[in-house]
C-alpha cells in the first residue's frame, strides 16, 4: 500500500509540474479570449436570431469550448515529450527515482488536470452568459461539456502516442488528421456501406479504418449522427448519463491503449 502511495506521489509530482508549466506559459489566458469572444458573439447573434438567442449561445459556446480545448490539447499534447527533449530537462528528471512510464503518465495526468480546469472555467463562463440571456445552463449542457472533455483527453492521449516517436510538427498533423477522420466516422461508415462501395475491397478497408481509428464522433453531441444509430442533441433530453458513461468507457479504453503503446516506445528510447 505504501508503495502505491509513493508511486502516486511521484505521478503527482510530474503532473503538478506539467500543470504549473501550462499555467505559467499563460495557457489559461485563452479563457479571457474565450469569454470576450463568446459575449461578442452572443450580442451579435442575439440580434440576428429570433427568440433563439439562448440556443444559439449554447451552440456557439459548446463549439467554442470544443475548439479552444482541441487547439490546446493538440498544442500541449504534441509538445509534452518533445519539449522535455529539446530543453534537455529529460536528462534531469529520468535519473530521478521514478519509472519511465510514471513520467509519461504523470505528464498525461498534468495535462488532463489542465484541460479539466480549462473546460470547467469555460463552462462557467458559458453558464454566466446563458444566465444573462435568460436561459438555463442545464444538465444536458453539462453532459455535453463532459463529453467534450472526454474527447479532449482522447486527443491528448493520441497526440502523446505520436509525439513518443515523431516530431511535434508530424505529431500535430497525424493527430489533427485522425481527429478530422474520427469526427466524420459516421460519414466514413456510411460511405463504406454505400451501394457503390459495399462488398468491394475499398469498402472493406474504409470500414476497417472506421473501426480502428478513434471515433471522435461519439463525443460530438450537437446534432444527430448519420444513420440514426445514436441520435443525440444538447437541446433534447435524450443525451443520457448512460450515453456519457458509454462514451467515457470507449475514450478511456482507446486512450489507455494509446498511453500503453507510448509507454512501450518510451521504455527503450535513448535520450541522447
Amino acid at each position: 500500500m505504501n508503495g502505491v502511495a509513493l508511486g502516486l506521489g511521484r505521478l503527482w509530482a510530474i503532473a503538478l509540474n506539467t500543470f504549473r508549466e501550462a499555467t505559467r506559459n499563460r495557457v489559461l489566458y485563452v479563457l479571457v479570449l474565450f469569454a470576450v469572444g463568446l459575449m461578442g458573439f452572443s450580442i451579435v447573434l442575439g440580434e440576428l436570431s429570433l427568440h433563439e438567442e439562448v440556443r444559439v449561445i449554447k451552440d456557439i459556446g459548446l463549439a467554442g469550448i470544443s475548439l479552444v480545448g482541441l487547439v490546446i490539447a493538440l498544442f500541449l499534447g504534441v509538445n509534452l515529450l518533445s519539449k522535455e527533449l529539446d530543453r534537455k530537462t529529460v536528462y534531469f528528471v529520468i535519473p530521478k527515482p521514478l519509472h519511465r512510464h510514471e513520467f509519461l503518465l504523470g505528464k498525461f495526468l498534468g495535462l488532463a488536470v489542465t484541460l479539466v480546469v480549462l473546460v470547467v472555467l469555460m463552462a462557467a463562463i458559458l453558464a454566466v452568459v446563458v444566465e444573462i440571456e435568460g436561459g438555463r445552463h442545464d444538465l444536458a449542457l453539462v453532459r455535453a461539456e463532459v463529453l467534450v472533455l472526454f474527447e479532449l483527453l482522447l486527443v491528448t492521449a493520441v497526440a502523446l502516442l505520436f509525439s513518443s516517436f515523431s516530431s511535434p510538427y508530424l505529431s500535430a498533423m497525424f493527430t489533427a488528421s485522425l481527429w478530422i477522420i474520427g469526427r466524420n466516422s459516421a460519414e466514413l461508415r456510411a460511405f463504406a456501406g454505400s451501394k457503390k462501395l459495399a462488398d468491394t475491397p475499398l469498402g472493406t478497408v474504409l470500414d476497417g479504418a472506421a473501426a480502428v481509428l478513434p471515433d471522435f464522433h461519439l463525443f460530438y453531441v450537437s446534432g444527430a449522427s448519420l444513420g440514426g444509430a445514436t441520435p443525440v442533441s444538447i437541446h433534447e433530453s435524450f443525451v443520457s448519463w448512460g450515453y456519457v458513461v458509454e462514451a467515457g468507457v470507449y475514450g478511456a479504453a482507446y486512450g489507455g491503449i494509446c498511453l500503453l503503446l507510448a509507454m512501450v516506445l518510451l521504455a527503450r528510447r535513448d535520450f541522447t
Binding site: 534537455k88 530521478k96 527515482p97
Partner: protein, 309 residues
Amino acid sequence: MLEVEALGKTFVRGFLRRKTEALRGVSFAVERGEIFGFLGPNGAGKTTTIKILMGLIFPTTGQARVLGRAVGDRSAKQRVGYLPENPYFYDYLTPVELLDMVGRLYGLRRAERRRRCDELVERVGLAHAARRPLRSFSKGMLQRAGLAQALVGDPEVVVLDEPMSGLDPIGRKEVRDLILELRAAGKTVFFSTHILSDATMLCDRVAIVVGGRLRETGPLGELLSPTVQYVDIVWTAPDGTLATLDSLAGEHTSTSEGRVLRVPDLAAAQRALAAIVAAGGEIRELVPHRQSLEELFVTEARAVGRSLE
C-alpha cells in the same frame, strides 16, 4: 557502488543509418566512499558513460550496475543524486519549487522537503534567489541549483557531470569543498571533468577515457611517474659573466624573472648550480618537473590519435 563492464555504445544516426562508435569495452568500478574522477577530452565518451549509468541511454554491448543493481532500477536510483552536464531545468520554477519537486520524486514528506530545501539553497549559496524563476539565473547559478537538486534525496552516490563547468574561481572552490564534504560524510562521488587541476586536487582514483576507450584507471600516485623528467633553473648574473654561463650544457631561454636553464636531471642541475654560483650569478628558482596529470592525459590522447591513424 558503480560498475561498468566491457561497456560499448554505437549510435546510429540519420537516414543513411551512419554508425558512430562512442564507447568501446570500457570497464571500471567505483568503490564506496571514494572520489572518483572520470577524465577525458571533449567527445571522449564521458557523458555517454554517465548517461548509461543514469539510465538515459542503453549500452550496445556490456553492462552497467548501480549499487549492485541493474541500471534503471528504481530503488538504486533512490540512493543516487545526479547533476547533468550543463543542467537544464524547468525554467519557470524557482529553486525552492525545483527542490520540492525533486523531494516529492524521492518520496520525502512535506516537512522533510522544506527542511532539505532551506538547507540546500543555503549550502549552495542561492538563498538570496530562492524565490526567483530559474530562467533569470546565470550559468553559474544554474549549476548551483543543479548541485542542490542532486543532493535533495541525501544520496549515497553522487554523480556529477562536469560540475565545475560555468563556475568562476570562487564557485569552483566551493564545489571542490562540497565534494570533499560529501566524502567526509561517507558519500561516494563520481565526477567527470576535463579540468585536470580539479581532478589532481580531489580524486582518490581516476579513469582516463580517450576516443571512447579506457586508457588508464587507478590512484593518481600510481598513474603518474615519480621520476624527475627535467629541472628548470631560473638565474641572473652580472653582464660580464653571462656569456660564460650561457655556454653551460642545457636548454637556455629568457623570462621576465631572469634566464632559464633546463637540464635533464637533478645531477646536471647540481653541476649547473655550482657553475652559476662560482661565476657570481644568483639562483632565483629551482623547479624539478615530474609527470603531471596533464602530461599523462596528453600522452594518452596522442597514443589514441596515432592508433586511430
